[in-house]
């Protein structure tokens, strides 16, 4: 019994002591890390992690922490060395092996990533994100069959993994089996309909199968969700991501939230970005718009003033301010801001269009027309600017040219199209062409009805009724 206990104690001792068996010379040297020019919020974080690793070079956790900090700021090659050290110092840690594999994958070193991820999975075979990354690495390393097996294993255990179905579909497509690929990719899209890459791959598979209609449908879904991915459930990687205190990351998150309609959340992230870097002018510029959208006009003006104080030459800053001033009915200020935006960036189509609009409502039709034409010169597909050109031409009595402009904006078919068709019909009516007027107004009515544009529908119906009399 005593012997047995002693034996266990020895085993424990060996396990605990194992890391120290790695001597400094067998480790890759700790990389030199510079903090010059980093965001103020990042400097302290990196320096602390670096100093800790330097003063405890044989401590796996210290090396690993430094690796995580570098990793979160996409310093992958430096992070790789630190993860490598952490992994060698503590080979029983799943985190270091997995993070190492992840970073190797990011660096395009797929074969080494496979090795690291296999080691990680030997420690935690049930960690699905690591299994997925292993399959991804195998696929990228051209070990298609092996990748397929791993994806299969995942979907058997977790049929709700859209990522695994997507990976499996890509493997099947690469193996020349678009039919099987379409099934797998279809499952991925079913699980996460806004999964952009899966929609793209599914569309490609359908195209390969000659099912053009389905391909077009899924290409459209792809275009609507291009960069959307399934929500990641990966606590190990989340621990890395959460370390990011850079202004860029806050700004990115803020933009994502704004796009999703969470304006308060977006504002908060922009304020975090400013805290991370008080000179982050883009945040102030975005805040002009965000505050204006929630009705906090004073704060929007304040954001503008701060932006201009940091950089007085940002065209988008003046543009956002011009829009804000227009909302506040301060037309001279709006006009001045748009002119300033154009002075900085003469190719700014939206600023030309907005300035044109400001001029038009003040009755300066020739100047407005000039600005609208500049807008479409910069962006020939700028439908709103062409619509404005048409409006001015109608006001100037130049109906044939107005009709020509309106004709150019009837496609693509979107929410604006009924309005443009209506404008074209009305212009034909003014020109005395009753037949065309009715034809375009009826088209406008059908499209407005299909889109439930009630107000527009009422106007169109009234005009049609007058024309039919």
């Amino acid at each position: 019994m005593i012997m047995c206990r002693l034996g266990r104690a020895l085993v424990l001792l060996v396990l605990v002591a194992a890391p120290s068996l790695v001597n400094a010379s067998s480790l890759p040297p700790l990389p030199e890390v510079t903090t010059i020019d980093l965001f103020p919020s990042v400097v302290k974080q990196v320096e602390e992690a670096y100093q800790t690793a330097r003063s405890h070079p044989m401590d796996a956790a210290a090396n690993g922490k430094l690796a995580m900090v570098l990793d979160t700021y996409e310093q992958f090659s430096l992070a790789e060395v630190c993860y490598q050290r952490a992994h060698l110092l503590d080979p029983k840690s799943f985190e270091w092996a997995y993070d190492l594999g992840y970073v190797l994958f990011k660096e395009g070193r797929y074969t080494q990533a496979v090795d690291a991820l296999r080691e990680a999975l030997a420690l935690r075979p049930d960690y699905v994100p690591a299994k997925l990354k292993l399959a991804d690495s195998l696929f990228s390393a051209r070990q298609t069959e092996a990748a397929g097996k791993v994806y299969q294993e995942i979907v058997q255990v977790d049929p709700g993994s859209a990522d695994a179905w997507y990976g499996l579909g890509r493997v099947q497509a690469a193996q020349g089996d678009p039919k099987a690929a379409a099934v797998s990719l279809g499952k991925a899209c079913e699980l996460v309909p806004r999964y952009g890459a899966a929609q793209f791959a599914l569309a490609t598979a359908y195209r390969k199968l000659g099912e053009q209609e389905k391909a077009t449908e899924h290409f459209k879904l792809y275009q609507a969700n291009m960069t959307n991915v399934p929500p990641a459930v990966d606590p190990v990687r989340a621990a890395v991501q959460v370390l990011n205190q850079g202004a860029t990351m806050y700004l990115r998150r803020g933009l994502d939230l704004a796009q999703a309609g969470d304006l308060q959340g977006a504002i908060q992230q922009h304020l975090e970005a400013i805290q991370a870097d008080p000179n982050e002018v883009q945040s102030y510029i975005n805040l002009i718009q965000l505050y204006a959208r929630i009705g906090e006009k004073d704060k929007a003006v304040e954001a503008y003033q701060k932006a201009v104080a940091i950089n007085p030459n940002r065209a988008d800053c003046y543009y956002n301010y011009g829009v804000l001033m227009f909302d506040l009915r301060k037309l001279p200020d709006a006009e001045q801001a748009m002119r300033k935006a154009i002075q900085i960036n003469p190719f700014y189509a939206e600023a030309h269009d907005s300035l044109g609009y400001l001029l038009a409502i003040q009755g300066h039709l020739d100047e407005a027309l000039d600005q609208y034409r500049k807008a479409v010169e910069e962006r020939p597909d700028f439908r709103l600017a062409r619509f404005h050109i048409g409006q001015v031409l109608v006001n100037q009595g130049n109906l044939p040219e107005a009709i020509e402009e309106f004709q150019k904006i009837l496609t693509p078919d979107d929410a604006n199209t009924p309005g443009y068709l209506y404008a074209l019909g009305a212009t034909y009516a003014r020109a005395g062409d009753r037949q065309n007027a009715l034809a375009y107004m009826r088209k406008a009515r059908d499209k407005a009805a299909a889109r439930n544009q009630e107000q527009l529908l009422t106007s169109i119906d009234r005009d049609i009724s007058n024309l039919e009399k």
Binding site: K106, E107, R142, A197, T204, R207, T216, G246, R379, K408
Partner: protein, 572 residues
């Protein structure tokens, strides 16, 4: 004798010095495939970005070059594009070397006149030394006078130089109406409406201005060059040649203005086999665009439908350079786009029915190119074995974390890949190709052509804030070859857009194209090159002329430069 004795004996043999027998010479070092002869041939050009520390976007894009036989003396002259100070009140971080001359430079090749490969700077005499912030150049004979003209894109107003045929050029930009003032990058001459007059396609990039430039940062906050996402992308332009020295902007009328991204590379070829020239544009951080020619003066964007918009992962990449040709000699087109570091190149393979798939991995290009930012690029047969190989000029655009402490954090090595044959993909031979590929520079433009008329394709590259390089192909393989120059009597005089096939019994037909576009910011040799391998036999040559006519020539000998005049072959 035991094994130990044997070991000791061999060790002793190594340890004791002995005389090397005179009859046993040391094996010769393998001859390098290419050799940089720029300096020794007088091609002294040093690019100047004018970077002054504010990280202005145009500084990092570099500039291209053109291979053009401007004096029609039978050899390729070289036109190199130059930058300048964007902020003249500041001091450049990297001043130009002593003796440096500003503006674009034209170097005349003296080979035909003296028999020696040597270059003379004729810029002033030729009148093409535009001092601006030059980006790209397109070569084509827009007025069908038999002399190729130059279109130079700039960060700022572009310039059209008419070749007067007497060694001089005239700036005709204003009269022609092609002085696009936006930030233009690559450009291409293309007869999109089949009237025999070359029209002009100009890639435009983003609405960056010096005054309104933005400060961009890496994720950790280090100042870095901006991605194009920081600005609005602007539509490319299409100018229709009216035939009277004037062009009409048909960007909107042709449909080109309906879809756009930050355009960097362009190549014009028939991508769907309908006999009409299409236009393919590589966009930086946006889906690439394929403008399929509708045959009625309009083009329809079809990149996504056809399969060349995005790589298999569905993510838009930083498309830059383009090359397209039949790399597996199956009569179908393959297209390659260079991208950013950590993206790798994308290779699309045609199925012969107008559809394409991402075959990057199958051609073994994904991993070797992953760590590089590719710019100028070309499929070309460096060893004349009949299979098109691949060269990529590399150089980063944003800080590479592993090179942060390097004095040249954007520098990367260029890459050469050997085509191993159908089904075998490419093999990178960068490390064994000789000293020319050991250079670590910020390479940008790349143009391909036979500069010394020896049947081997040479490469000229430009380097950001560095010297231009002329990599002369040493002709190591000794395989057979043919170089075809096309001539049309009246329209599209150089046969731009023609498809040329070399037929040989029991061997795959080699189909190549007459074009100067592709790569990035650069223009290559219009002549069509064929590597023929060990067998010089050619049974016939067929030319599909841009006007739709087809002709055949027989009794052609290899290893020469051959001029094929439209109307002199057997009509098909």
């Amino acid at each position: 004798m035991t094994r130990r004795d044997l070991l000791l004996a061999s060790l002793a043999a190594c340890a004791w010095p002995r005389k090397t027998p005179a009859a046993l010479p040391l094996p010769a070092a393998p001859r390098p495939i290419f050799r940089d002869v720029a300096a020794e041939t007088g091609l002294n050009f040093h690019h100047f970005s004018g970077a002054a520390g504010d990280l202005l976007m145009p500084e990092i894009l570099g500039a291209g070059l053109a291979l053009i036989d401007y004096d029609n003396d039978g050899d390729l002259d070289i036109y190199l594009l130059q930058g300048t100070m964007l902020q003249p009140d500041k001091k450049p971080l990297i001043p130009p070397p002593p003796g440096w001359k500003p503006g674009n430079r034209l170097f005349r090749n003296m080979l035909s006149e003296t028999g020696k490969l040597e270059f003379v700077d004729v810029t002033e005499k030729a009148g093409v030394g535009h001092i601006g912030y030059a980006m790209g150049v397109a070569v084509g004979d827009y007025d069908n006078d038999g002399y190729q003209d130059l279109y130079v894109t700039n960060f700022g107003r572009n310039a059209l130089y008419h070749n007067n045929g007497d060694g001089t050029f005239t700036d005709v930009t204003e009269q022609a109406g092609v002085g696009d003032p936006r930030w233009s990058t690559s450009a291409a001459w293309v007869d999109y409406n089949g009237d025999g007059l070359l029209d002009l396609f100009v890639c435009d990039y983003v609405d960056f201005t010096v005054l309104g430039h933005k400060k961009c940062y890496s994720p950790s906050g280090q100042p870095d060059y901006c991605s194009p996402i920081a600005y609005h992308s602007i539509p490319s332009r299409l100018f229709r040649n009216l035939g009277n020295g004037k062009f009409e902007d048909v960007t909107q009328a042709s449909g080109i203005g309906s879809s756009y991204g930050p355009g960097l590379g362009v190549i014009c070829m028939d991508f769907n086999g309908d006999g009409l020239i299409d236009i393919y544009v590589a966009n930086d951080t946006a889906a690439n665009l394929l403008w399929l020619n509708q045959g009625n003066g309009t083009l329809k964007e079809s990149g996504l439908d056809v399969g060349v918009a995005l790589s298999a992962d569905g993510l838009p990449k930083a498309g830059m350079g383009i090359t397209a040709d039949d790399i597996d000699n199956d009569g179908r087109l393959e297209v390659l786009v260079t991208n950013l570091n950590r993206e790798g190149v994308t290779l699309f393979r045609g199925d012969g029915k107008g559809m394409y798939d991402d075959y990057t991995t199958q051609f073994r290009l994904a991993q070797p190119t992953f760590g590089y930012t590719g710019y100028g690029v070309g499929f070309f047969d460096y060893d004349n074995d009949g299979l098109l190989d691949l060269f990529i000029a590399n150089g980063a655009m944003t800080n590479i974390d592993s090179m942060q402490n390097s004095p040249t954090p954007y520098a990367q090595k260029n890459q050469l890949f050997h085509n191993e044959g159908p089904g075998k993909g490419f093999r990178e031979i960068t490390d064994g190709a000789g000293p020319f590929l050991e250079l670590i520079e910020i390479s940008r433009g790349a143009a391909f052509g036979d500069i010394d008329n020896d049947g081997n394709i040479d490469i000229v590259i430009t380097n950001e804030d560095g010297p231009a390089r002329l990599f002369l192909n040493q002709g190591v393989s000794r395989n057979h070859w043919l170089l075809v120059k096309l001539e049309s009597p009246k329209l599209n005089r150089f046969g731009m857009g023609a498809r040329v096939g070399v037929f040989r019994r029991e061997m795959p037909t080699l189909w190549r194209h007459a074009h100067t576009d592709g790569s990035m910011l650069s223009a290559s040799d219009i002549r069509v090159h064929f590597g023929l391998g060990e067998n010089p036999r050619i049974d016939a040559i067929i030319v599909h002329w841009p006007d739709g006519k087809k002709e055949k020539w027989e009794n052609i000998r290899a290893d020469k430069i051959l001029t094929l005049r439209q109307g002199t072959g057997h009509a098909l």
